[in-house]
Amino acid sequence: MAEVANMDTYASKRRINIDDAVLVRRCWQGDSAAMEELILKYQNRIYNVILKICADPDDAAELTQETFVKVIENIDNFEGRSGFYTWVFRIAVNLTLNYCQRNARLGFRSLDASGAKAEYSSQSNLALKEFLSDDSSPDPAAVAQNKELYEIAVESLMKLDDAQRAVVVLRDIEGMNYARIAKVLDIELGTVRSRLSRARSKLRQILEAILQ
């Protein structure tokens, strides 16, 4: 009991999630099983965010792996000023954005992603038209089942620039609040608001353009 109480005090001081705090502490003591546990806990979420930003499964897997390597290498430097979750996502997003910038400089971005107008089938157009014109609030689960809408969503997301895409992914896919997004991306809260607003406005324009 005393150990649990001490752990609570420690966790409240370091302001990190209690489960993560325990695992991180065990990592500091050289417990590799704790590190494996952390990797297994976050690998899907990290991979998902990276994939949504870079849009390439292989690159996403590699970047996820690289993220955890960096986490293990720097776990001793983790001071607990932010949550472990925030810290890991910051590493992942920074690595991914650097990767995107590097690819953009080298011209590896696909034509679809760089703004070329994609051709959609009439079925896709119809699905999108129905989705947008439906006055009732659509069910996200039903939308997820719609293959045409999925393709359109992925394509539209890739037409945003990297910074806007990162904000949208962290908010709408990972479900972070603005404050956490600001910490992960190391930007001001107001910047998060404005960047997210611009990103969604642009998405709306992209979707309208598909229908025309």
Partner: protein, 329 residues
């Protein structure tokens, strides 16, 4: 519709539940009253739903294994227990510090010595130095003498031959007595006329003497000036020399120039002697414009010639001349 600044930002924050309660109420009111705003809100919500409906991708199962493998590939640092002898280390450190301190002191000493040799005055007064405070003296304009040009010393011998030996010797003696201070000459003995007059005098006295001697030049059978050169025992002999020529030679400031002038006179006098007539001598005298003609003393009253003051400086006595008077051939 009333334009609201940052409406899109507010609508997005409203969707995400990131607006303060008061603004949330405001947006709700606007949405109820403004159809366009309600429509915009719906579009933004659909965008959000469209993205959030994207399925969550699962990470490949090999990620954990790959992470482990990447660490396994990295070279392992074999940590060998290091044995430290703290006392030896402390001693070594102390020794290094002492050495460094000694080196620094040595450098400071060398630097101080160098600075001292540069800055310190040549004569250093030992002990305390008393400084006398004096009232500033009234300013007096002192005319400083210009730089003294000391002529090169002349050394030589003047050999005069005459048929009127006693009279000439007597004249010379008197002239020397009148113009040269007594401590600057050794008079010839009347009984021994062959004894030379040895003069050590300044150029001013010598010029006065020479001017007076010029009066007896007509009584001379010959006159020769032997000018000593810088080489011991070597002389330049100027035959048939005149008083003016002697003055021109003796009064040269530079010994080199003096030799040149003496040689010129020697050559010219020899040529003049060998040529019929004496006209060339006059011509030679005219060409020697740079020679100094000794001023002849002019008595303006019946006042007796005042003897020169014996107070002279040694620096002025740069003429060493021996005058020898011999009987005629």
């Amino acid at each position: 519709m009333k334009e609201i600044p940052n409406m899109d930002e507010k609508l997005n924050s409203f969707i995400d539940g990131e607006l303060p309660a008061r603004q949330q109420t405001e947006v709700q009111r606007l949405v109820h009253h403004e159809e366009k705003i309600a429509q915009r809100l719906q579009q933004l919500q659909k965008c959000r739903i469209l993205l959030s409906s994207l399925p969550i991708a699962e990470a490949p199962p090999q990620i954990l294994e790959n992470v482990k493998a990447s660490f396994a590939r990295k070279p392992q640092i074999v940590e060998q227990p290091l044995v430290f002898d703290e006392r030896a280390g402390t001693r070594h450190l102390l020794g290094r510090r002492l050495f460094a301190a000694a080196a620094m002191l040595g450098l400071v000493g060398i630097l101080t010595a160098v600075v001292y040799t540069i800055v310190a005055p040549e004569t250093v007064t030992q002990g305390p130095v008393a400084v006398e405070r004096r009232e500033p003296a009234p300013t007096v304009d002192v005319v400083k003498p210009g730089p003294t040009i000391v002529a090169a010393p002349f050394s030589g011998r003047l050999e005069l031959r005459t048929s009127y030996l006693p009279a000439v010797v007597a004249f010379i003696n008197r002239a020397i007595e009148d113009n040269i201070p007594s401590d600057e000459w050794i008079a010839s003995d009347q009984s021994n006329v062959k004894k030379p007059h040895a003069l050590i005098c300044g150029s001013e006295s010598f010029n006065l003497l020479l001017a007076e001697l010029g009066n007896i030049w007509a009584k001379l059978d010959s006159a020769a000036l032997f000018v000593d050169t810088e080489v011991f025992g070597e002389q330049v002999v100027v035959d048939a020399v005149t008083a003016e020529q002697i003055s021109g030679i003796v009064n040269q400031d530079d010994s080199k120039r003096r030799m040149e002038v003496a040689k010129d006179f020697a050559v010219l006098n020899n040529m003049a002697e060998s040529l019929p007539g004496r006209e060339i001598l006059a011509a030679i005298d005219d060409t020697m414009v740079d020679l100094i003609t000794p001023p002849k003393p002019v008595l303006t009253s019946n006042q007796k010639t005042v003897k020169k003051s014996p107070i002279r400086t040694e620096e002025n006595k740069n003429i060493h001349l021996t005058i020898t008077v011999l009987g005629g051939n």
